[in-house]
Amino acid sequence: MFKLNLFQSARSQALILLIPAFGVYTLFAIWPLIDVVILSFQEWNGISADRKWVGWENYNYIFNNDPVFWVSLKNTVIWTILSIVFPPLVGLLLAIGLNQKLFGRASLRAIYYLPVIIAPIAVATMWRWMYDPFFGLFTQILTDMGLGFLARDWLGDRNIALYSMFVAYVWQHVGFSMVLFLAGLQGVQSTLIDAARIDGASRFEIFRYVTLPALSPTITIVLVLSTISSLRAFDIVYGMTGGGPAQSTQMLAMWAFTQSMQIFDFGRGSAVSVVLLVITLAIVIPYMRWSQAREEAVK
């Protein structure tokens, strides 16, 4: 009888369904988040029973005495800028292409989406092999084409390693933007396109004045998700270069992990994590607010 009554009320039903998950999330997501912030003001080696309060010392250290932090911050910024430009742009172009009526487009959609469902660590391993300076696919192809002089140590050269890694990242992430843009394109009213054609708009003008404005909610989602995913880039770095050579591909997420899990300085690792969190929120929150306000103005 008691159970029956509980389920009769929509609110109690919602509570019953949500409370267990809330407990789990508090324990494994919210509390760690808070603890990382606390830990960033402490010194701890991960084993000792004592966590010593050191105030701003960890931040002071990473900002003033840790050159790798600045390298990883710079790399993260470059990576993020590239990530919000290239995968969405290529994804949009593919989506526009695949939105046309052409033979086999369903198969092409599946093929272009395929990399998204591969585990990042597997992507990293695959591309590490392809980038191998002696046996790798790219060196092989260039040599076969008589362009052997263009071959490089793709991941071993500190000037290009970050960009080599980025190509693999684009390959994996393009499908994700593409699918979101495809969904957005299906939502573009065909009569609006007809109206623009009657108004005398060229293909480019139709894209500029009809398609693009209609895609703006999708663009917001794609950019926010791309930013978040690029800021937390970890597995691909871990799997391809481990941050090397000479820290040239080091990034904040990877550096936080290295500080904590390899150098066992959890305080500094946490401080790096908090910096990353602040950067993420500082970019994502204002952008979402701005685009929401803009969409409401249109609606």
Binding site: Q189, T191, L192, D194, A195, A196, R197, I198, D199, G200, A201, S202, E205, Y209, V210, P213, A214, A297, V298, K299
Partner: protein, 364 residues
């Protein structure tokens, strides 16, 4: 301004042909309405005139120039869509001026044209609003403004009133008609609503299954429908059809399937004992206690001005528009007379109208 000539136009999607050789000659300044049920090819035909749909065969000319291979822009037409198709991110003024802007007109010229058009349509106070801030009727007016601003040779309307509520539809109907009288531009208008067709058109083209069933002025079509389809499509409530056999002795009368007799005022010559379908509009049925045929009342719908009565006669349902405040109820019988001069006779097999002049035959 221009005439529009549609000659033997066909449209196929792969092996499926949906428009089967349509010929329509629309005069300069004429208001022509293409009407028909869903899937009759009326919108496809309009889109072919607009250049939004390729013409599979035949030719469309606008102002004497074949436009088959011209882009919509080059055809000098403007179109108003059912769902308005306004650019949501632009203001009313920007929507109206868009075509002028991309054709490179000066800001001063755009603004003067937009302002004068807004004046005609009563849109001046709304020029800085976005489409989302407008009601359905206002949006449709902006869509019309966008078309007028371009000063096209032909206006194309694709079911422009279908998304509006009933009252607004009546109001917009009058506005569009007034606009046509004012501008005098050729209009091709598509609708499935026969009232719109009857009230607005100079000439109606009735389409069914990609074929023109009949073309003519609204009253021509109403008074002399070519077949049962046109007869049933135009007029509200729809024309009644009563299956029966003409009297064997040639006298004006119809024997229904159950043997009951219906007296008529006239019948076509040389059709004695022929199986026909009698077409009679609900307004032409009258109560006649002397000569009427008894029919059983199934439903009564008082509209205020009159009463729509659904009756059953020899197993066939008919609607009669009778005077208000009838002193009878559902289940009772009512004597109905079909002896109107306006009845039509259709061949039972071909459904074609059997011509019959009420004055020259069997006058009673």
């Amino acid at each position: 301004m221009a005439n529009v000539e549609i000659s033997a136009v066909r449209k196929s999607y792969g092996a499926l042909e949906v428009v089967h050789g349509v010929d329509i000659d629309i005069k300069d300044g004429e208001f022509v309405i293409l009407v028909g049920p869903s899937g009759c090819g009326k919108s496809t035909l309009l889109r072919m005139i607009a250049g939004l749909e390729e013409i599979s065969d035949g030719a469309v000319s606008i102002g004497g120039r074949v436009v088959n291979n011209l882009t919509p822009k080059e055809r000098n037409i403007a179109m108003v869509f059912q769902n308005y198709a306004l650019y949501p991110q632009m203001t009313v003024a920007q929507n109206m001026g868009f075509s002028l802007e991309i054709s490179g007109k000066s800001k001063a010229e755009i603004s003067s044209k937009v302002n004068s058009t807004a004046e005609i349509l009563g849109l001046t106070p709304l020029l800085e609003r976005k489409p989302s801030q407008l009601s359905g009727g206002q949006r449709q007016r902006v869509a019309m403004g966008r078309a007028i601003v371009r000063d096209p040779a032909v206006f194309l309307f694709d079911e422009p009133l279908s998304n509006l509520d009933a009252n607004l539809r009546v109001q917009m109907r009058a506005e569009i008609k007034a606009l046509h009288q004012r501008l005098g531009t050729t209009i091709v208008y598509v609708t499935h609503d026969q009232i719109e067709a009857m009230t607005m058109a100079d000439r109606i083209v009735v389409l069914r299954g990609g074929v023109v069933e009949q073309m003519g002025t609204p009253m021509d079509l109403y008074d002399s429908p070519a077949n049962m389809f046109v007869a049933g499509f135009l007029g509200s409530p729809s024309m009644n059809f009563l299956k029966g056999r003409l009297a064997a002795d040639g006298s004006p009368g119809l024997t229904l399937e159950d043997g009951s007799e219906v007296k008529l005022q006239h019948s076509p010559q040389g059709t004695s004992n022929q199986a026909i379908v009698l077409g009679i509009r609900p307004q032409d049925i009258a109560v006649d206690p002397v000569n009427g045929t008894p029919a059983v009342i199934k439903v009564m719908e008082p509209t205020g001005a009159d009463t729509h009565v659904l009756v059953e006669l020899a197993g066939q349902d008919l609607v009669a528009v009778l005077p208000p405040r009838l002193k009878t109820t559902v289940g009772e019988t009512i004597p109905l007379s079909f002896a109107s001069p306006n009845v039509h006779f259709f061949d039972a097999a071909s459904e074609a109208n059997i011509p019959c002049d009420p004055k020259s035959e069997h006058d009673q």
